[in-house]
């Protein structure tokens, strides 16, 4: 099976206000295959979001390699990473992060604008229908429930036809019933389009629904120490 994500010896540290820096990630190896659904369990502050930001190219690592679909992300310029992210990676945030000035449909189209470059209304409507919000396409985020907002966020993440979906605790801010729905939607939508998933969560029950569950604490070799 083709490898979609290959992380090797990835190290990331952050500077501290009092001087020095703290290493938050040290991942010798992490691999996600094409179309594979992987849940990564970790505690709060354990570097989950940082890992996703590194994979998305929003942060650059201190050391190591991130290959997505055969492309070495760390060798791309910032613009190259932006373009790559837009065309290859979908991102679902814990707090949805829908843009309040735009309707549900426009939020989804935004994902396409920055992704494929063409904001196809048909695909945006289709995605909203697939997440059960075809009749809420012209609602603003504040007119939607939190569960509905997260579903719009899923549609938006899929809008750019990504090869891998990064989900950062997508169910953390929704009620358990909605969490089930959200999770199911993510998995179904990604399965339909053969999109790999890397979801980070602290919820073991949520993670257990994925075909592969990894413990970030076991993968991450970083120990809190000042250099």
């Amino acid at each position: 099976m083709k490898v979609m994500l290959q992380i090797t010896n990835l190290v990331k540290s952050f500077p501290q206000p009092e001087g020095g820096s703290i290493k938050v990630l040290d991942v010798p190896n992490l691999q996600v295959n094409e179309g594979e659904h992987v849940a990564l369990i970790g505690q709060s502050g354990g570097g989950k979001t940082t890992l996703l930001h590194l994979i998305a190219g929003l942060l650059t690592p201190d050391e190591g390699s991130i290959q997505i679909n055969g492309i070495e992300l760390t060798k791309l310029s910032e613009q190259g990473r932006d373009r790559f992210r837009a065309g290859t990676i979908g991102y679902v945030f814990q707090t949805f992060n829908l843009l309040p000035a735009f309707t549900a449909l426009e939020n989804v189209r935004l994902g396409m604008t920055f992704g494929s470059g063409v904001a196809e209304s048909e695909r945006a409507i289709d995605l909203l229908e697939r997440v059960g919000l075809g009749d809420r396409a012209h609602y603003r985020p504040r007119q939607l429930s939190v569960g509905q907002q997260q579903r719009v966020a899923i549609a938006r993440a899929m809008a750019g036809k990504p090869r891998i979906l990064l989900a950062d605790e997508p169910t953390a801010n929704v009620d358990p019933k909605s969490a089930e729905t959200v999770l199911e939607l993510i998995r179904e939508t990604c399965a339909e389009e053969k999109v790999a998933i890397l979801m980070v969560t602290h919820d073991l029950q949520i993670a257990s629904q994925f075909e592969r569950v990894d413990q970030l604490d076991e993968i991450n070799q970083a120990v809190e120490r000042s250099r």
Partner: protein
């Protein structure tokens, strides 16, 4: 696959194929942000619109003033001749009927523009030095097919100037944008040199005089001497014509026959000699009441002799326009007269007084625009804190730094463009609303789409200001840290 190569290929394919749709979408995104912050956006746009409106108004008003002056300064003659003094004052009092006349010129100075035959006829008709018949006027060769029209100023009809002149004034002068329109009359006709009905006392009034003084054909008026509240002359002029509006100062003047003007008391230049025949008539040639006839005869009045006559100024058109500068030089080299080119004088006036005033007004209004542009900066910049998360989300969705920066700039440009258009429309709507009054006052026709040349610079200027105003917030957007703002 080489990562850098991939980046280039991806960039080219995306940009080349979809650049137009992407650009449109960025404007849509900017527009939605504009609408989302509607109150702030509208207030910022309105302040800019008011600034632009003021600039347009200043430019338009200056345009109207400029056109009014320039148009009025050329009504078919190219020189104004008067006594030595300020050429601007000469132009103002002879062309615009403003300011006070400098002095008077002897009638013989007028005769210097006439041919030998015309001078002889005058000497025979009015009486004067026989030597005047012996030669043609010094400047007559310049006149050729042109004309010279004498003006005598100094009296008023109400607040309007009374202009003593000859019927030539109505025959020769032209007006209108192409200087092809003759003076026409809403009622009546031009006055004659002499008529049996009204003798030498016929008058024509401009349209505004007729309207404001509520007079028409058949009415008689008695000019006052020196100023609007001066003493009234005993001799009255009968209005025989009311001119159609011309949009020139002639609308604001009452024209009387020069011969009648001379016959009014105090209008003759005092001379020592008087003839024996004059004793039977009043010194100014006025008939004794008991001699006043029902049907006037030329002999009923003693017209002033040439030495008694003066003119305030002369409107001159040379037969060949190429002669005008030579004649102007020749006149100005003399000791008595000066010749002024009205258009040149008005251009100097505009350049010296009106132009700087316009520039001062423009500076003030441009500062208003700059303040409005600072308003754009403050408005957008203040919103940046609230929008950092949105910018981070857009970046996470694949937007480049340059993309979010462009969106911010587009927002600023939207405010600028809408503000400029609204301001332009408001100003021109205002001008259109007062177009009737403007035309009445100045004769300049203005419509909604009447623009001054400088207006084309407003939109580029406002856009430039908006771009400058957008730099700080755009830089803020450019520097927005994605990771920290997504995690916040």
């Amino acid at each position: 696959m080489d990562s850098r190569k991939y980046g280039v290929i991806l960039c080219q394919s995306n940009i080349e194929q979809k650049v137009s749709k992407r650009t449109m979408n960025l404007i849509q995104i900017a527009w939605r942000n504009f609408c989302h912050r509607s109150l702030s956006s509208i207030l910022t746009t309105l302040s800019l619109a008011l600034g632009v409106g003021l600039v347009v108004l200043v430019l338009s008003i200056y345009g109207v003033i400029n056109e009014a002056f320039t148009r009025n300064a050329s009504v078919g003659y190219n020189l104004v001749v008067g006594p030595k003094g300020s050429p601007l004052q000469l132009t103002l009092n002879s062309v615009f009927y403003l300011s006070q006349p400098i002095e008077n010129l002897p009638y013989t100075e007028y005769m210097e523009f006439l041919s030998e035959a015309e001078r002889s006829e005058m000497v025979d008709r009015f009486g004067g030095d026989e030597e005047l018949k012996q030669r043609g006027g010094r400047y007559a060769p310049f006149i050729g097919d042109g004309f010279v029209i004498p003006l005598a100023l100094g009296d008023y009809f109400g607040e309007f100037r009374v202009v003593g002149t000859t019927p030539l004034f109505f025959e020769k002068l032209r007006h209108g944008p192409t200087l092809e329109q003759t003076f026409t009359f809403s009622s009546g006709r031009a006055f004659q040199d002499f008529s049996e009905e009204h003798s030498y006392f016929e008058a024509v009034v401009g349209s505004r005089v007729a309207k404001e003084m509520n007079v028409g054909v058949g009415d008689q008026f008695f000019p006052t001497h020196g100023d609007p509240t001066g003493h009234g002359h005993d001799l009255g002029f009968t209005i025989v014509g009311v001119m159609d509006p011309t949009g020139t100062p002639n609308d604001r003047a009452a024209f009387v026959n020069l011969e009648g003007f001379y016959l009014m008391d105090g209008h003759a230049k005092p001379i020592e000699e008087t003839t024996a025949d004059d004793s039977e008539k009043t010194p100014q040639g006025k008939l004794s009441p008991d001699l006043e006839p029902k049907v006037a005869k030329r002999d009923d009045y003693r017209l002033l002799s040439i030495p008694e006559r003066e003119v305030t100024s002369l409107l001159v058109r040379t037969g060949n326009i190429m002669f005008a500068p030579s004649m102007q030089n020749a006149i100005n080299e003399g000791i008595r007269s000066q010749a002024a080119a009205p258009v040149g004088e008005i251009n100097k006036l505009m350049g010296l007084i009106v132009g700087p005033l316009k520039n001062a007004m423009l500076m003030i209004t441009l500062i208003t625009c700059v303040v409005a542009a600072v308003g754009i900066l403050v408005s957008i910049y203040n919103s940046m804190n609230d929008r950092k998360r949105d910018i981070a989300v857009m970046r996470a969705l694949g937007a480049r730094r340059s993309t979010v920066t462009t969106i911010i700039i587009y927002e600023s440009l939207l405010v600028a463009t809408i503000g400029a258009i609204v301001g332009w429309i408001l100003a021109h709507a205002g001008i259109t609303a007062y177009s009737g009054t403007i035309e009445d006052q100045t004769g300049v026709q203005v419509g909604f789409f009447t623009t001054s040349g400088n207006e084309v610079w407003i939109l580029p200027l406002v856009i430039l200001l908006a771009l400058i105003a957008a730099l700080l917030p755009a830089w803020s957007a450019y520097r927005t840290d994605v990771g920290s703002n997504l995690s916040a």
